[in-house]
Amino acid sequence: MKKLLDRIRENVTKTQVWKSIFRHGYPDTDANRALVMFSNVILHLHPVRIRRGALKIKFTWCLGGLTFFFFVLLAITGVFLMFYYVPDTRRAYNDIKDLGSVIYFGSLFRALHRWSAHAMVFSVWMHMTRVFLTGSYKPPREFNWVVGVILLVTTLVLSWTGYLLPWDQLALWAVTVGSKMAEASPLLGNAGPFGAELGMSVNNDIAFVLLGGTVVGQSALLRFYVLHCLGLPLITALFIAVHFWRIRKDGFSGPL
């Protein structure tokens, strides 16, 4: 049986179709294992060889990789959810209810989306803690830590903007709490220190910019939807690319 499978594999990997896609054989020879790292766009994030010590799970606990995996999972489940959701205050809530009842796998995808979101916030904190405890931010890797903090902020804002979209009581008031804090910004908010002196009112302060209005309403929903589904994922993806690039260029800081 094994010989049959091996023969099939040999023949498949020698066809023109295979070679046009993959440009290397199945990675069971060292040459192919090196080639696959060069010619596969997803795998080329990796180096060809890695120090044996760096493989230890108890060094990284896979936290960075898991965070990225959660991000990808959120993107995929998010696209699915976007088919069935319209950011209109008159129907957003009913769309979410439909996802939970009428749409096939709607409940599963929404639950996956929500759990991945919480997991991603948690794992990004844990990843930051791990990087700190192993001193992997020390020179020459300082800037990658800064990029990581930027990613932490985008993760939190992504999570927060997504929180509003179901348009239920929890969403509305959780975002209201946040916008009240924004109103209290020094200098930029109408209720914060020196805000009134600088001409900030409910109609032109930072909370107004954030919400597109004075209350959390249709403008806020649309703004948060665009930020959550398009703006912030693009920014996050950009910084993820920088983050991975830096790791490859500076090398993995793991043990010998």
């Binding site: 939970g100 759990w115 910004s185 908010g189």
Partner: protein, 287 residues
């Protein structure tokens, strides 16, 4: 300090010429790169990643199946739920609202946290501990960071578990549906404490616009600024080695951030144990 295992990507562009690439492959496959022994990423790293992805997907599917996403009633601007809670990762900040005004708890402190995090690699001069776990070689850094982490998680924990109706404190054994009586304790400002303790007059020494500056008020300014000044000066005087290692800029940044971070539980204690509401009062902001 590029690591040996990061191959220059430019080599791939030469892949039309099989000679160059074949040589590189032969070298990476056959030789040991560098003094440490290395293994090929395929399959050793790739399969670890694959297994962890499978495991975590299984976990997420199980969670999704047993605990579907919640949905409360339709949003209504008329009814405010009690209590209104931010998402769990922001509950730490919402808990801080009990002890600090919104501009501090919601804007200044989070900004300082972010700036402090960003500055960490630049104010840490210790070359030890790079790439391995150690507490013994970097006690100050690890303790400081973990203190901040502990403070953050405790505030989140309180916000999640111990805050109920009207944001009152509910122990796990309290009935969450019964309102707690409103605070009967009277909170005072530090300024008033100074006035009463030292018998100072309430007439202002000088008035700048809306700001009537009394002697007690000046004393609270002195206390607030003095906290930072004294805190920054003490290690400079008694732990000179520490100062020399960091240098002027790093030392001041580190001590300022450290004192600000320690100031948060300090103010929490002041309010809980001494009934002090504000340490510093001006018409524009109160700390």
């Amino acid at each position: 300090m590029a690591d040996k295992e990061s191959r220059p990507i430019a080599v791939v562009s030469k892949s039309g010429n099989s000679g160059g690439l074949a040589d590189l492959i032969k070298r990476t496959a056959a030789e040991k790169i560098g003094p440490e022994d290395t293994v090929l990423v395929w399959p050793n790293l790739v399969y670890i990643e694959f297994i962890s992805m499978l495991a975590i997907t299984t976990l997420l599917l199980a969670l999704a199946f047993f605990s579907p996403a919640p949905l409360e009633e339709l949003a209504s601007a008329d009814t405010t739920p009690n209590p209104t809670k931010a998402p769990w990762y922001f509950l730490g900040l919402q808990e801080l609202l009990v002890y600090f005004d919104p501009w501090l708890a919601g804007v200044v402190l989070p900004t300082m946290i972010i700036i402090g995090l960003v500055l960490i690699p630049y104010i840490d001069p210790n070359p030890l501990g790079k790439g391995y776990y150690t507490f013994s070689e970097r006690k100050f850094a690890v303790t400081g960071f973990i203190f901040g982490l502990g403070l953050w998680y405790v505030l989140i924990l309180i916000g999640v578990e111990f805050r109920g109706l009207d944001w009152s404190w509910y122990w796990p054994w309290d009935d969450p549906h019964i309102h707690k009586p409103a605070g009967a304790v009277k909170l005072v400002d530090m300024e008033v404490i100074f006035q009463n303790a030292l018998g100072l007059s309430e007439t202002p020494i000088v008035t700048v616009g809306r700001y009537a500056i009394t002697l007690a008020n000046i004393l609270t300014w002195a206390l607030f600024i003095g906290y930072f000044v004294v805190g920054i000066t003490i290690p400079f005087l008694f732990m000179r080695k520490f100062y020399n290692r960091l240098g002027f800029v790093r030392y001041n940044l580190t001590m300022f951030l450290l004192l600000a971070m320690l100031g948060v539980p300090l103010k929490i204690y002041l309010r809980l144990l001494a009934n002090i509401k504000y340490v510093l009062v001006t018409p524009w902001f109160k700390i």
